[in-house]
């Protein structure tokens, strides 16, 4: 036969269907949850008609307000602190002359990713209980901010480090050649080039802090309810579609930040 058989060498039979099934499985439950936030009936599963009332009642709810306020205080502070720390650490640890303890430092930074969340949660709880018992120290909502900052650092660190690794360091060298002081070279060359990585890292840090349930639940003291904790409290009561509305808001925040982080990363790749 002169004509080669027509086939795409990359194809494998059935893989397309499995991929589509995976996508449907991942999205259908969440989409259903979102759709029912518009249900005019008061049951979370029986559809009666379209309404926006549940969003209204969520926004008028005092408990929701205070949970949202706590969540924002914690995640914004944790994001800022962790992003600054992660940026500095990435600069001190990426493409530098290997210094003693570099490998250990790298392990410490990534430690929160390796330890299961429940262990971090009970360890942090024990820690704050100990310093409260021994020194009478209690940072209030600061406890949660510190706990969040710890696990936000590695998430912020990853994209910043990746960005530094891709960066053309000869630009810095050129700046130094042109008599730029190290600080000026950093401010005018390194930092602007690093901004996409920092933004991407900050977005990820914000999401993981905003969404955290396990650690927050164990560490939070009275009056420190965050949005995920608020949802958990609602689950244990008779549920109304208000919980769907609040869940939908949380999902939309995640989707927004993931997409931002993703778009920044993609622009970098181009």
């Amino acid at each position: 036969m002169a004509e080669p058989r027509v086939m795409d060498i990359k194809d494998q039979p059935g893989f397309r269907s499995i991929a589509i099934i995976c996508l449907l499985v991942l999205y259908i439950p969440v989409l259903i949850l979102m759709i029912f936030s518009f249900n005019s009936g008061s049951l979370v599963t029986h559809w009666e008609g379209v309404t926006l009332n549940w969003y209204g009642s969520a926004f008028l709810n005092e408990e929701f307000h205070s949970a949202a306020k706590n969540t924002l205080i914690i995640s914004v502070t944790a994001t800022i602190v962790s992003t600054i720390c992660a940026t500095l650490a990435a600069i001190g640890m990426t493409r530098v002359k290997p210094w003693r303890g570099l490998a250990a430092a790298f392990m410490v930074i990534n430690l929160p990713l390796m330890v299961p969340e429940i262990i971090t949660a009970v360890a942090t709880l024990s820690f704050f209980a100990l310093i409260a018992g021994t020194f009478g120290l209690n940072f209030g909502i600061g406890n949660l901010i510190f706990a969040h900052t710890v696990f936000c650092i590695p998430f912020a660190y990853m994209p910043i480090r990746a960005r530094l690794e891709d960066m053309d360091l000869t630009l810095e060298y050129a700046a130094a050649d042109l008599y730029a002081t190290p600080w000026n070279a950093f401010k005018r060359i390194t930092l602007p080039l690093l901004v996409p990585g920092i933004m991407s890292g900050a977005a990820l840090a914000f999401i993981v802090s905003f969404d955290d349930f396990t650690i927050t639940q164990l560490v939070a003291g009275p009056g420190q309810t965050t949005l995920p904790l608020y949802i958990w409290n609602q689950i244990r009561r008779p549920m109304t579609p208000e919980i769907n509305a609040i869940s939908t808001i949380l999902l939309l925040v995640s989707i927004l930040f993931v997409s931002v982080s993703f778009l920044i990363a993609r622009r970098r790749a181009k």
Binding site: I9, D11, Q12, F15, A19, L23, Y27, V30, I32, L33, L43, H46, V81, I84, C85, A89, I91, G92, M93, T94, V96, W99, A105, V108, P112, V115, P116, I118, I119, T120, A121, V122, T124, L125, S126, F127, G133, T149, I153, P159, L169, T170, Y173, P182, L204, V208, D211, F213, L218, I235, S247, L250, L251, I255, F257, V258, S259, F262, R266, A269
Partner: protein, 320 residues
């Protein structure tokens, strides 16, 4: 985020001597950076991340205080209590495998989750990696969104579907397939389903970033040598993507083993996993040393898995 850059920068291509020169200059420039810059991050994680782990190591050798917390007396009771229970009357130790059974159950859940995620995730990741770059971006975004979405909310979504009054039962009742709802919530099935749903994206993304770098000339060569599709898959594609498979399995297995939210919501406190068991000791159980010991035993299991991973990946590097 695993959106690896596709093309190497043109600067990595010049003749070797020139490349070495660039590299030397780059290192020189980098050396000016101060290693002290990493201190703030290390101090914060050191105090609020590492120190707490040391504290629970200490706590696990102490005695429980009656209302939660610890009393400072050395004791190995926490570890003994993991396997044995002291008889109230004659003070002998009796083998009580309750906790061990929960650990084994969790292990089984985690293994099944890993296997099913791999069976579903591999074809998905492969399909994604063989799309056009534009399509790939969409697929990666679509898998990345659930990866970062709130796990509590996603678990809640599963709960709404499998409840007695949930959509599945409603649909089956309406179709007349069943006449009373099938109980799915608060069963082992619910936990297993929840774990799969939670961790599927954790499998797909590392597999994808490994498959994306696959050299399809090797696939072509295999076809040239009269390999069938099946042979190409099993003898070329899968062996080449082994690092991604191991990374994906680990990323699913470790969080699945220590899962807390999923069994809490879908198991309803009836079917426990390690995560709930540990949390219970700090809540209603009021036995912090036991909880610390249980956490450390879980940590040991995780370290074994990580050790396995490091050994496998470093072996891979030696082969080139």
């Amino acid at each position: 985020m695993t959106t690896a850059t596709l093309s190497p920068s043109p600067l990595s291509q010049p003749p070797l001597s020139k490349a070495a020169l660039f590299e030397a200059q780059a290192v020189k420039a980098g050396a000016r950076r101060n290693r002290l810059l990493s201190l703030p991050a290390l101090i914060i994680i050191g105090i609020f991340g590492v120190l707490p782990l040391i504290i629970i190591c200490v706590y696990s050798f102490l005695v429980a205080a009656p209302y939660g917390g610890v009393q400072w007396h050395f004791s190995t009771d926490a570890y003994l209590n993991f396997l044995f229970q002291r008889d109230i009357f004659d003070d002998t130790l009796q083998f009580t495998p309750d906790f061990l059974i929960i650990y084994l159950r969790s292990f089984l859940f985690a293994v099944v989750t890993t296997i099913i995620c791999l069976l579903l995730g591999f074809p998905t990741a492969y399909f994604m990696a063989t799309r056009s770059p534009a399509q790939r971006n969409w697929w990666v975004l679509l898998i990345t969104i659930p990866f970062w979405s709130n796990l509590l909310v996603r678990t809640l979504a599963i709960m709404f579907i499998i409840r007695d009054e949930g959509l599945i039962n409603d649909a089956l009742l309406a179709l007349g397939v069943i006449d009373k709802p099938i109980t799915m919530l608060y069963t082992n099935f619910a936990i297993q389903l929840g774990l799969l749903y939670a961790f599927l994206p954790f499998m797909v993304l590392p597999l994808y970033s490994s498959l994306e770098k696959l050299d399809f000339r090797l696939v072509e060569a295999a076809y040239d040598l009269y390999a069938t599709r099946r042979q190409v898959l099993w003898r070329v594609i899968i062996p080449l993507s082994k690092p991604g498979i191991i990374a994906g399995c680990l990323l699913v297995f470790i969080p699945a083993l220590g899962a807390y939210v999923t069994p809490l919501i879908l198991g309803g406190g009836v079917h426990l996993m390690i995560g709930d068991l540990i949390a219970q000791q700090f809540g209603s159980g009021r036995n912090w040393p036991l909880g610390c010991a249980q956490a450390l035993i879980l940590m040991a299991a995780v370290l074994v898995a990580l050790f396995f991973y490091v050994r496998n990946t470093s072996g891979k590097m030696q082969h080139g």
